[in-house]
């Protein structure tokens, strides 16, 4: 088990986060020095990783409410505006019978952001509370979160394309409503949260 508990820090080596060049360090803590190759600051771990992740996470959590409660898209058809929230849009698709699109939007716009938020929260908590169980699954989960993060933008893409396509003058126009901004912020913030998290924290307290 020595292999697993023996870290770069133990070896007195630090890896440049930019160009991945190794450098030797003295002492245990993070060093204030620069990479000899690319000049980036050297850190043993991503600086303030957990704090930042928390901040992004909380921000996106707060943003989630306006994103879901406010209308995300306004369809103006024949002079009458029909604003709809994400959930109303999904309802609409389900009622129309286009279950696939309805489910897709439900998955990308509701399940994934919430899954990401919960997942990252879980990981952060497991580090701070030193929950050592099923770390591997948590690592897998983090990878999934990082992978699907970009796909949450699907909703925004759909709106962007719709706004561009459906512009029939006074007949029908579609405009993005305030929730689109908040939703995009949620997606971006959760992605930031996922990337600002240093995975190595997961294994740090492992004995």
């Amino acid at each position: 088990m020595i292999n697993r508990s023996f870290t770069a820090r133990d070896a007195g080596v630090v890896c440049c986060l930019e160009c991945h060049k190794l450098a030797f360090i003295q002492g245990d803590d993070e060093v204030q020095k620069r990479c000899s190759r690319c000049g980036a600051k050297l850190h043993l771990r991503k600086p303030n990783s957990i704090t930042r992740t928390w901040a992004f996470l909380l921000t996106s959590f707060i943003m989630l409410f306006p994103a879901y409660l406010l209308p995300i898209m306004t369809v103006t058809s024949f002079g009458h505006s029909y604003p709809s929230t994400i959930i109303e849009g999904i309802e609409h698709f389900i009622q129309e019978g286009t279950y696939f699109i309805g489910f897709l939007i439900f998955f990308a716009s509701i399940l994934v952001p919430i899954f990401k938020l919960i997942g990252i929260t879980l990981i952060l908590l497991s580090i701070q509370r030193n929950w050592q169980t099923s770390l591997r699954q948590k690592a897998v989960m983090l990878r999934i979160i990082r992978f699907i993060g970009r796909w949450s933008m699907l909703d925004i893409f759909v709106i962007a394309i719709m706004v561009a396509l459906v512009n029939l003058g006074s007949l029908t126009t579609i405009k993005a409503a305030p929730a689109a901004t908040f939703f995009a912020m949620v997606v971006v913030l959760t992605m930031l949260a996922a990337t600002s998290f240093d995975t190595r924290h997961l294994w740090e307290n492992r004995s």
Partner: protein, 568 residues
């Protein structure tokens, strides 16, 4: 531990880690909190007012879509619909913006705006695409959150600046909501709505709207009239065909005129009421309304003119059966300036065309229609009269001499028959009736003022009707008649003797000689007596004369000198 040397390696002296404060990254959640708080604050501040509006029929109202639009601006949204337990009406819950809260008072009226496609155009087109919407008119009263919607738009769109007035009419004709109001051909307003009188009378009410800039054109005395359709006027004097603009021809329209020129008259105010006249003529002739009850309405129509001495002074506007009097009720107006003629005891009758062998009278009425004429009374002003179906008898023509003739039989005499003096028409028969004991007939005769002095107490009256055939063995047949008119139609003639004539007559009588008419007349011509004084005294009103069935020869010879009165 060995440290592999590296060319890029610098000193690796450890540095003390600074004690970290709060990471600046926490600004992010802080901003998020602020945004969220602002959103919450905004939604709380903008939280609308929920009210319930009860509709009889909620057709076209959709939850989440139908808006309440006031002055073109959405101020509320229908949140949901719920049918009442009694299934009689629908409760519509509407959320209003908070600014509307102060306006939601008890008297507020709500109604649906629906698309309307009619000849005058399309209104509410936006509702075709957007769906119906609800609109409102703020009212007064306490604040409340439950309203009853109107089933139809309210009569007035008070929110549009301009003059809102009402006009009453009995027949709408082609007029309907949207018909224009024109002043000298320029459209200045329109009919907002037409509906029955609130009180359930027969009158129809038109709600009129006059544009703000034109409101000074409407005075308190302004008269509105219908200009719908084509006016065809025909008379002996010519024909005219009038039509206002094409728009008013097809859609109906109203125009108005101001009888009082200048700024003398007060401007009309909102909610003033006016009468809508059928046409321009009746508007110009508007005046005192009066009612005449007739036995039958023959010859009467609601276009019947009212004439006095041949001058049009008014016009009938309605003729209908009247159950109370079992007759016909004619309503007419008398021009304002002639209103004084309407007094108690005024007698109305209908002048109809008369086609006779001898005389065709009132030919003009053949084309212009019968008209109503009257003989003014002397009582107090009055508005209800009894009409006569024939010209009245026994009524003095104003200023004329009125005498009564007594005869055994009426013969062919009738009202209107002329009275001749030397074959000049000096008066006419105004009526015939039986005497009270039915032993004779009484014929009322009016002699024109001018000729009144001719009638003396000694005057003789005879029937000029028909032929007077004298057949005598010596002189042969002699046919005597008054004028042709009198021959064919009948009439009355009279003669007034001179003072000397009567004496002579006495002589003649004493002699017992029967005169030969032709001889006698020749004699008269030979030496005309010009200076003969008239006999008797001037006849007074109501004097009764005997009506002879034929003239005695000598009467025809009487030629007294009489000063005529001044003709009026």
């Amino acid at each position: 531990m060995t440290k592999p040397s590296d060319s890029g390696m610098v000193s690796i002296a450890p540095e003390l880690r600074r004690k970290k404060g709060i990471s600046p990254i926490w600004i992010l959640p802080l901003i998020a909190v602020i945004i969220a708080a602002w959103l919450v604050y905004k939604s709380v501040m903008n939280a609308g007012v929920d009210v319930t509006i009860t509709f009889r029929n909620a057709q076209g109202i959709e939850a989440g879509k139908t808006q309440v639009i006031f002055r073109g601006m959405p101020i509320g949204l229908v949140k949901d619909l719920q049918i009442r337990k009694d299934f009689e009406s629908v409760d519509v819950r509407v959320q209003f913006v908070k600014e509307a809260k102060d306006q939601l008072k008890k008297g507020t009226e709500f109604w649906k705006v629906e698309p309307e496609i009619s000849a005058r155009g399309i209104s509410g087109l936006e509702t075709l695409l957007k769906g119906n919407y609800i609109t409102m008119r703020p009212g007064e009263g306490e604040e409340t959150n439950h309203f009853e919607a109107l089933s139809d738009p309210p009569p007035f769109r008070s929110d549009t600046p301009g003059l809102h007035i009402r006009a009453f009419t009995e027949d709408l004709g082609a007029l309907k909501a949207g018909s224009g109001i024109y002043y000298k051909g320029i459209k200045v307003g329109e009919i907002i709505q037409t509906h029955l009188d609130d009180k359930g009378k027969t009158d129809l009410v038109l709600d009129l709207f006059i544009q703000e800039k034109c409101r000074n054109l409407v005075k308190k005395t302004t008269k509105f009239f219908n200009i719908s359709g084509i006016v065809f006027e025909g008379g002996l004097s010519g024909f005219t065909l009038k039509a206002e603009s094409m728009e008013s021809l097809f859609l109906g329209g109203i125009s108005f005129l101001n009888p009082e020129q200048g700024s003398k008259a007060q401007n009309a105010k909102d909610d003033d009421t006016f009468r809508l006249f059928k046409d321009k003529d009746s508007a110009e002739q508007e005046g005192q309304k009066f009612t005449v009850y007739f036995q039958d309405g023959n010859g009467l129509s609601n276009r019947t003119q009212v004439k006095y001495r041949g001058v049009e002074v008014g016009k009938a506007f309605s003729v209908e059966l009247d159950e109370k009097t079992d007759g016909v009720r004619l309503q007419a107006t008398m021009q304002q300036k002639y209103r004084k003629l309407l007094r108690k005891d005024t007698q109305f009758w209908v002048v109809k065309p008369q086609l006779g062998l001898a005389e065709t009278r009132n030919l003009d009425t053949l084309l212009s229609g019968s008209y109503l004429t009257f003989r003014p009374g002397k009582g107090k002003p009055e508005k209800t009269f009894k009409g006569l179906n024939n010209p009245p008898g026994e009524v003095e023509i104003k200023g004329g001499l009125h005498v009564v003739l007594e005869s055994e039989r009426l013969g062919s005499l009738k009202s209107g028959d002329p009275v001749y003096y030397r074959q000049v028409k000096v008066g006419e028969v105004t009526g015939c009736r039986l005497s009270k004991d039915a032993t004779s007939t009484l014929i009322s005769v009016d002699i024109r003022t001018q000729y009144a002095p001719i009638v003396r107490t000694t005057s003789r009256f005879w029937k000029a009707s028909g032929l007077n055939v004298n057949f005598s063995f010596f002189s042969g047949a002699k046919i005597q008649t008054e004028s042709m008119a009198a021959l064919l139609e009948g009439g009355i003639a009279f003669a007034t003797p001179g003072a000397s004539d009567l004496e002579k007559k006495k002589e003649d009588k004493s002699k017992g000689v029967v005169f030969d008419g032709s001889k006698n007349s020749q004699k008269k011509k030979a030496k005309p007596k010009t200076g003969i004084q008239v006999s008797g005294s001037p006849a007074k009103n109501g004097t009764i004369f005997q009506l002879y069935s034929e003239a005695q020869e000598e009467w025809l010879k009487w030629r007294p000198r009489i000063a005529l009165g001044k003709s009026k």
